[in-house]
């Protein structure tokens, strides 16, 4: 229940009746290649965010990331036991090839995503069936009540696909895939370029631009240079240190959007001395989250107080972010039997500038209480594999939400049985597990809030991992781009409907 | 007294080193196509059925043009390469079948002196160091006695022993050749294989080294297998001479007889072509034509395409070795007994020398030929 506030948002509100765009192409430079455009299989954020421009879902999250609003389903009803959901499709909805979106397409698509091994089906485990009762009506049956159902269905993975076309061509997603979203793909070169073209069959408001060209430019500096040279209009992730310089340029602007990203430090609970909660608390007390914010994010992030994303649903504002207290840290360490500190490793992902900076600050902070840290950088895959065992020293990781409901983060982060071993800390607490399960099937908002606050507080006290920062999404764009907006979930499909590009 | 004399005579007859039917055939790489078609590979007969003997204390000179197989013969004798056929005998014993003891003996008894004075010594070792190394490795002299022995060796080759600390780079070609000889002497050999040891030296230095070779022979009783292309040198130093042509011995015999009346037309040509001081030359030459390709040697007598006395039989029949009246063993159809199955000889044995001379025989002294 909060607006899109947070950090500075320099983009003006999209003026409703703006004339059509002067330049009808928007060029975006992303830092990461497209892994696939099959929504059920997507993993890379950048690709996920693009999916949402192509495939409409039954419902969607509003641009502020706070509530679920209609998409293909213009309305829905719930049975009184909360176990049967009926969705009524918009009769105007059409796929980009002009054929109508039918309930059986929708049911097929959701079932496809559910069935995919290693896919996102587990989120909606309580669902027993998804069927089309008539061409305009989708019926979803549950075995237990499931509060996050709508939020889950708004997720990209449950995008509605043209069943016939997908089934007819096994290379559908590698060529020029389309759905019922505002854009369709006209050129796909996963490692360098994606061209989105306006879908003229789209039932909703037509975008003012006709084409979006997304290029993949992995080198951070090269992206900035391309923006400075006017070769692109919007770039993802400009290096933090350049933000000041970029915003000083009247032709450019820096956009910081609130995100659901939470940076945290993983703690190897299975090993000495971290099995002792006092040691974990001492580490937490020694950290200077403000300094970290300054050096890693140029002050643009917010020090994290809980493991829930900043200002999202049920985020416990009341919990205090830790402040450096070296005396307390030293005292806790002595109590735990480590008055002179100890040595440990800190696993980081190489090439992640912010993470490296955080690591350097952590090393420096912990050195003050006698803990000697060796920074071990690995390429992402190895880093995560090493961290996952929970035995290889401290580690830096982050989380982002895919849905607006906190069920996902709570399950992964604090439920030892939730599949991710409480963010691989292997920390468990029966009360917390119970609270999370209750919250999932609880539909009363206040009760849910209470349960989630309890979970957040326990995690903050027990410190199985230590949340560090809430960084914003960083974009930079040319002053000639009007109305580029990113939702806290990272997608920008809503703004593409209304933004305009001027000559430059 | 008489018993000793006969024994002596017997040992004199046992050669120090002997080769019997020694051959070295280099197989040339076959093209893959030839290999696939199972065509036989080409073979270069660098040394072909060579039988020679070096007597103790005597010098066997080996002469021939480039590529005639002189160095290969030397390498075979030194067992730096395995023969394709034939044997090398040391004191009448086969080296190959003699096992480790035999090859050890070969390394002690037979040493080498090479042509290029600039690569024959390790440039990074001092003269004294190189000699001491030999003494150390062969274990013949205890460490304490080595400096004295080194000095002795250097003295023996006429190299100032005060220069033992010098490196080869500081020496002239002649100096290096002396050190090479001293190094070979350090093991106490009985035979030196010398592969063109004076070819790279200036006349004045060449004279010094030749004198040295001769003095060492008389002082130490060394035998030499002396390889060279220079007949003047050979005439001076050799007791016996073998003439090689395309891997085969075409003529061999006592040096004196061979130089006085060369039997084989090839030997005659070599002698005619060798420049002699003060002899005025004409515009004609001893022999026409080039050395044939050793991979595809001519049929019959391999010298026939260039031979001024070639006959029809030479093109077809390989001549056998026969002994001439003057005592050389020669493989040439001009001599009785060299053409298998044809007796009497095609020509009387006395004429061959004059036959060759008709082509070109040098006038003995300078005189106007134009």
């Amino acid at each position: 229940a909060c607006g899109g506030g947070g950090s500075s948002t320099t983009a003006p509100e999209a003026s409703a009746p703006a004339a059509s765009s002067e330049v009808d192409t928007l060029k975006i430079a992303n830092g990461v290649a497209i892994d696939t455009l099959d929504p059920a299989e997507n993993a890379a954020n950048e690709s996920i965010w693009l999916d949402q421009n192509i495939y409409a879902r039954l419902v969607q999250t509003d641009p502020a990331g706070t509530k679920v609003v209609p998409d293909l389903a213009s309305s829905w009803d719930t049975s009184t036991d909360g176990l049967t959901w009926t969705f009524h499709l918009n009769p105007d909805a059409k796929f980009a090839d002009g054929t109508a979106v039918t309930a059986s397409d929708a049911a097929w698509s959701i079932n496809r995503a559910r069935a995919l091994e290693g896919g996102w089906g587990f989120l909606i485990t309580p669902v027993t069936s998804v069927t089309a009762s008539d061409p305009q009506t989708v019926v979803i049956k549950l075995k237990t009540k499931h509060a996050p159902l709508l939020a889950d269905l708004a997720m990209y993975a449950f995008g509605i696909l043209p069943q016939k076309a997908v089934e007819a061509d096994k290379d559908f997603f590698n060529k020029t895939p389309y759905g019922a979203g505002p854009f369709k793909v006209t050129k796909l070169d996963p490692d360098s370029q994606l061209v989105l073209t306006r879908n003229d069959s789209y039932w909703g408001p037509k975008p003012k631009i006709s084409t979006v060209e997304v290029s993949v430019v992995t080198n951070d500096n090269t992206r900035v240079l391309q923006l400075q040279g006017g070769q692109v209009d919007v770039i993802e992730n400009p290096p933090g240190n350049l933000l000041k310089q970029l915003s000083a340029n009247p032709k450019l602007k820096v956009d910081l959007f609130p995100s659901t990203r939470v940076d945290f430090m993983q703690v190897p609970l299975k090993t000495k001395p971290f099995e002792d909660v006092r040691v974990r608390q001492a580490v937490k007390a020694a950290l200077d989250l403000d300094a970290m914010n300054t050096l890693a994010y140029q002050g643009n992030a917010t020090p994290a107080n809980t493991f829930f994303p900043y200002k999202m649903l049920y985020w416990a504002e009341s919990i205090q972010a830790p402040k450096p207290d070296l005396d307390k840290a030293k005292q806790l360490l002595s109590e735990a039997g480590y008055p002179n500190g100890f040595k440990t490793d800190l696993i980081t992902v190489s090439g992640d500038a912010a993470g490296q900076a955080q690591a350097v600050v952590i090393k420096d902070d912990l050195a003050k209480v006698g803990i000697e840290v060796t920074i071990q950088s690995y390429e992402q895959s190895t880093a995560y594999t090493n961290e996952r065992s929970g035995t290889n020293g401290l580690g830096l990781r982050y989380w982002t939400n895919d849905i607006i409901d906190p069920d996902e983060v709570a399950t992964f982060g604090a439920d030892i049985k939730g599949g991710a071993n409480s963010f691989s800390s292997y920390w468990g607490d029966d009360a917390t597990t119970k609270a999370i399960n209750e919250a999932r099937s609880e539909t009363d908002e206040n009760k849910r809030a209470e349960l989630y606050t309890q979970v957040q507080q326990t995690v903050a006290d027990q410190a199985p991992f230590i949340p560090l920062a809430y960084p914003p999404f960083r974009y930079a764009s040319g002053a000639w781009v009007n109305g580029f907006q990113v939702s806290p979930l990272g997608n920008y499909n809503d703004s593409l409907l209304s933004l305009t590009v001027g000559t430059h | 007294m008489t018993a000793l004399a006969t024994e002596l005579a017997a040992t004199m007859r046992t050669p120090l080193l002997e080769t019997r039917g020694l051959s070295k055939h280099y197989a040339l790489q076959r093209s893959t196509r030839a290999w696939l078609r199972r065509e036989p590979g080409e073979v270069l007969r660098a040394v072909d059925d060579v039988s020679l003997a070096v007597l103790p204390g005597r010098t066997l000179g080996v002469v021939g043009e480039t590529g005639s197989g002189k160095s290969t013969l030397g390498r075979l004798v030194l067992r730096l390469e395995r023969p394709s056929a034939g044997q090398v005998l040391l004191d009448g014993q086969d080296v190959a079948s003699g096992g480790g003891a035999m090859s050890h003996r070969l390394r002690r008894d037979v040493q080498v002196v090479l042509q290029d004075p600039y690569t024959s010594l390790n440039p990074h070792e001092t003269v004294g160091g190189a000699l001491a190394e030999v003494l150390k490795v062969t274990g013949s002299v205890p460490a304490a006695g080595r400096p004295a022995r080194v000095a002795e060796l250097l003295d023996q080759v006429g190299f100032p022993s005060g220069w033992a600390g010098r490196k080869p780079g500081q020496l002239s070609g002649g100096g290096r050749q002396r050190v090479s000889i001293a190094r070979a002497l350090a093991v106490g050999p009985r035979l030196l294989v010398a592969d063109e040891p004076v070819s790279a030296l200036d006349v004045s230095v060449q004279a010094q080294v030749l004198n040295l070779f001769q003095r060492l022979q008389s002082e130490l009783g060394l035998a030499y297998l002396f390889i060279t292309h220079d007949l003047a040198v050979l005439e001076r130093i050799a007791d016996d001479v073998a003439v090689l042509y395309l891997g085969k011995v075409v003529e061999q015999g006592p040096a004196e007889a061979l130089f006085a009346s060369p039997a084989h037309p090839y030997t005659q040509a070599l002698l005619a072509a060798a420049p002699k001081l003060g002899r005025r030359r004409s515009t004609t030459s001893a022999v026409a034509g080039e050395l044939p390709n050793p991979i595809t040697p001519p049929s019959g007598c391999t010298f026939h395409p260039r031979c001024p006395a070639a006959m029809a039989v030479c093109r077809e029949v390989v001549p056998l070795t026969t002994t001439t009246a003057t005592g050389q063993r020669v493989a040439c159809h001009l001599y009785p007994g060299s053409t298998p199955g044809t007796e009497p000889p095609v020509r009387p044995p006395s004429t061959p020398a004059s036959g060759a001379a008709a082509v070109s025989h040098p006038a003995p002294s300078p005189g106007g030929t134009r």
């Binding site: 290096p239 600050v361 950088s377 | 037979v110 090479l114 690569t119 390790n122």
Partner: protein, 296 residues
């Protein structure tokens, strides 16, 4: 990204300008050899600056200063500070230690191993030669370094892993040179004589063949040392150089690369240091080639 093999560098000393003014009272080998003297002087200067770093700066290369990142030059920080407020001058000085370690450490191991393999292959011939030279071909044919880079990235950056990458990448050059030189040396009179004298294979190889193989290999090593430092820098650029927060020129350049638009000195200063080191080594290589050739 292996070191470029440059026969010219190995064989060419003709273009050297022998400075006439260089008539200082120097040991004989140094006299008149501008390249050699300049190379030694430069390398010594770098070594003194880096090893004696505490004498030239009081700042620590590791202490961060969150309040003072990316500061411009000041009396306190002669070259300013980096993104963590660390003193750039101190980092350059201390960082050189690692580069010298890389230049020597990585190079010496490949020099020894590669040379030994090449020599053995050429001298022993037969199947040993076939196997070794096939492997050499393999390493020459495939840009192994790319694979190794990727794999080291997975193993995690550290000086050790970087050494492994450098070793894997550059031993072949030595093996090739040593192989060729040994083949040639096998025909030298003194090597033939050593065989006839009945010397053992190790003795022939070490005492008689090695001295003629060494010069070219050593000159190549000078080139390779620069190549190794550069390769280290490339590893740093791909985020897999030495471990944070270790200062090492290559990784400093690549860290600074992120700031090249705002604080270019962060890359430029270690870049210049690297070039100076490279120039020192290539002068030394030229000079050594000159000396070794004169000795022959």
């Amino acid at each position: 990204m292996t070191t470029l093999v440059d026969p010219a560098q190995l064989g060419d000393v003709r273009g050297l300008s022998r400075a006439r003014w260089l008539r200082l009272p120097l040991p004989k080998v140094l006299r008149g050899r501008f390249s050699l003297v300049a190379g030694i002087v430069l390398l010594l200067a770098i070594a003194v600056l880096c090893i004696g770093a505490p004498l030239f700066t009081s700042a620590s290369p590791l202490d961060i200063d969150p309040l003072n990142p990316l500061a411009p030059p000041s009396p306190e920080h002669p070259l300013g500070t980096d993104a963590f407020g660390r003193d750039l001058w101190a980092r350059v000085l201390y960082g050189g230690r690692y580069d010298l370690a890389i230049a020597f450490g990585a190079t010496i191991v490949t020099l020894v191993v590669g040379t030994a393999l090449g020599m053995l292959a050429a001298y022993l011939g037969g199947w040993v030669e076939s196997v070794v030279m096939r492997v050499v071909d393999l390493f020459f044919a495939f840009p192994f370094i790319v694979l190794v880079i990727a794999i080291v990235a997975s193993l995690g950056p550290s000086l050790r892993n970087m050494f492994i990458a450098l070793w894997v990448a550059s031993w072949v050059g030595y093996a090739r040179i040593a192989h060729g030189q040994t083949l040639a040396a096998r025909r030298y009179g003194y090597v033939v004589a050593a065989n006839v004298l009945g010397y053992s294979t190790p003795r022939v190889l070490l005492r008689h063949v090695l001295p003629s193989v060494a010069p070219l290999v050593i000159v190549f090593a000078m080139v390779d040392a620069v190549g190794n430092v550069l390769l280290g820098a490339s590893l740093g650029f791909l985020g897999i150089g030495v471990r944070q927060p270790t200062p090492e020129w290559g990784s400093m350049i690549s860290e600074g690369q992120a700031y090249i638009l705002s604080n270019w000195q962060l890359s430029l200063v270690p870049g210049i240091a690297l070039v100076v080191l490279g120039v020192a080594f290539s002068l030394l290589g030229d000079g050594l080639a000159d000396v070794l050739r004169a000795e022959q």
